[in-house]
């Protein structure tokens, strides 16, 4: 079975480093982007990921804008997205609607790993 590919979009370098480290330890293939804009250009050049962890509050292009543009592309509209953010969940619900899982900061590594496992198992 091909490797399960995860894209982490997170502006805090320390956090994205740890997420990618832990996810790699779990056997995932991990790509990282520091904001929505760079994530979009990265998506053009890499294989379509099986899962995206998306931070909300980022410079240049935030999670909400990124999400809108992502879903506008037929090729990307089915990629599962897990929103990770320090905004309150209720506010994010208004932006991301019912469809997406939201993990609020501060989350634990277990939250992230088990969320990824769930998606992987389908």
């Amino acid at each position: 079975m091909a490797n399960f590919k995860v894209l982490v979009i997170e502006d805090d370098r320390e956090i994205s480093d740890m997420l990618s480290e832990v996810l790699q330890d779990e056997g995932y293939e991990v790509a990282v982007a520091p904001n929505g804009k760079e994530a979009l250009s990265l998506l053009e050049s890499i294989a379509i990921p099986d899962l995206i962890f998306l931070d909300f509050n980022m410079p240049v292009m935030n999670g909400g804008e990124f999400f809108g543009l992502l879903r506008a592309q037929p090729a990307w509209e089915k990629i599962p997205v897990i929103v990770t953010s320090s905004e309150r969940t209720s506010e994010l619900r208004a932006i991301f609607k019912e469809t997406q899982r939201i993990i609020a900061k501060p989350y634990t590594l277990d939250d992230v790993v088990s969320a990824a496992q769930r998606i992987r198992k389908g």
Partner: protein
């Protein structure tokens, strides 16, 4: 000093003129009224007109119909065609001609009343008194209306009034000023077209005398908080909208909130990274940690989590100040909302090894509420139940509709709360005195819950037994509108 032979006259005594060409009739009427009124006799219609047009005006005219020259009917017509006090001057016509045709003619020419000759003294007196009384009442009503209008006209807040047709019938000086448009162009246009942001949706369904606050509106850079008052009388329905300028307050609020949000975000991010780093250490990738270090680091982790809770609650409370003015009420299906929130909490329930159950009506329960705020309340109550319940315990949610209210409750099999602490729970800065040390919280959460529910016109409460668990609930009114929606959806 009074003139010789002229009796003292009280200025309070109403003035009556008797206009009659027959001195005998005139004198007879004069004698009837002389003791209670200031009476003058006028010899015919043309003299009466001459005196009236020079500005002397009595309180009432007793007018003979048939006179040589200018008749009573002609005097009436002249008066009603005049302006000011003359137009409103009360007139009683006296005449011997009183067929239906004549009575009709008397009234169409503008007489207020009609007495036939020969008259009964008591009847004439009663009619004069009644007419004067109605004039007095009308004057009083006019003065009160004038005073009120002046008061509203000069009120510091812009005000608008309109009737059942929705068209503006009144706007005060401030109202004209903020719309920077002439009064003539405002009067008569539908209110809903006037100010964008206040639509029929806000105006309809307001059916109480108590003013209702609706969402802020913006007019030329200024922010106004409108309040709507509907008063229904047998004269019809009048809706009054008052706009209070809250620009300075809202701007200060939003600057303060932006500032708090930035701080909160900037604090949470490094804390997240510290917490993640701690977890990397716990995972023992770089070698197992000594037992003692694990304990220390776990305590560090708990403190950090407490700190995040504190930051969150602090930010929420800051946002909630004055929330009553800003809740956006839309129709919300409470059942869907609860399901969705439960979904978000499933991982936490699993992690705490808790059983969960939900009971409620299968049909949608539609409320008028601020969805985001309500979801915050439900999350808070559910989060607490999970937090305060030990492993293998049970958490249950319930939705119950009865008597125009919907009640949502969360029951847990947790540690429970002492009776004396229960009462203090929803107040600022309190927390049950002896909750286990493992629980974190600032005590602000339930206060937030109370603020939100009360802003929706509902109530909150809790029951608890130490060692058995607690039940927290809120109750919200189902408005007529929401009941209609519910039944429409059920059909």
């Amino acid at each position: 000093v009074t003139k010789q032979g002229v009796p003292y006259s009280s200025p309070l005594r109403p003035k009556i003129w008797i206009v009659d060409d027959s001195p005998t009739d005139s004198e007879r009427v004069r004698r009837i009224f002389a003791s209670d009124y200031e009476v003058e006799t006028v010899s015919d219609g043309s003299v009466a007109l001459e005196r009236l047009s020079t500005g002397s005006v009595p309180d009432l005219l007793l007018l003979d119909w048939v006179m040589p020259g200018v008749s009573g009917i002609e005097v009436c017509k002249f008066l009603r065609a005049s302006s000011g006090a003359l137009k409103e001057l009360p007139v009683i016509l006296l005449t011997a001609q009183y067929g239906p045709q004549e009575i009709y003619q008397a009234f169409t020419s503008g007489a207020n009343d009609y007495v036939s000759k020969p008259f009964v003294e008591e009847e004439l007196k009663a009619r004069v008194a009644a007419l004067l009384e109605s004039k007095r009442l009308r004057k009083r009503a006019e003065r009160a209306e004038g005073d009120l209008r002046a008061l509203l006209e000069n009120a510091p807040d812009p005000m608008f009034a309109f009737g059942a047709d929705g068209k503006i019938s009144f706007v005060n000086e401030e109202g004209v000023k903020i719309l920077s448009c002439s009064r003539d162009r405002i009067i008569g246009i539908p209110f809903a077209n006037l100010i964008s942001g206040i639509s029929d949706r806000h105006l309809l369904g307001q059916n109480s005398d108590a003013p209702t606050a609706i969402p802020d509106v913006q007019i030329n850079q200024a922010i106004f908080s409108p309040s709507v008052r509907v008063s229904a009388t047998d004269l019809g329905v009048t809706t009054t909208v008052t706009l209070r300028d809250v620009t300075a307050r809202r701007n200060a609020d939003s600057r303060r909130l932006d500032f708090y949000s930035v701080i909160a975000h900037d604090l949470r991010t490094p804390i997240t990274s510290i917490l993640l780093r701690l977890e990397v250490a716990f995972r023992g990738k770089h070698g197992a940690l000594p037992e003692g270090h694990v304990g220390d680091l776990k305590k560090t982790r708990e403190s950090l989590r407490g700190l995040v809770g504190l930051i969150n609650d602090f930010l929420e409370l800051a946002k909630l100040e004055g929330v009553g003015y800003r809740i956006v009420q839309k129709s919300v299906n409470l059942c869907d909302l609860v399901n969705q929130i439960v979904e978000d909490f499933l991982p936490l329930l699993e992690k705490g090894n808790l059983r969960f159950a939900h009971s409620g009506p299968s049909a949608p329960v539609i409320l008028m509420a601020d969805r985001q705020r309500l979801s915050q309340v439900i999350s808070n109550l559910l989060g607490n139940a999970i937090k305060f319940t030990e492993a293998n315990g049970k958490v249950e949610t319930e939705i119950e509709v009865s008597g125009g209210f919907v009640e949502f409750s969360v029951r847990d099999s947790g540690v429970g709360i002492q009776q004396e602490d229960l009462a203090k729970l929803f107040q600022r800065y309190t927390r049950a005195s002896d909750v286990p040390a493992k629980t974190s919280g600032t005590g602000l959460g339930l206060m937030i819950v109370r603020e939100i529910i009360e802003a929706h016109g509902g109530s909150v409460g809790a029951e608890s037994k130490v060692g058995e668990g607690s039940r927290f609930w809120f109750k919200l009114p189902l408005t007529n509108k929401s009941a209609e929606l519910s039944s429409a959806l059920n059909d």
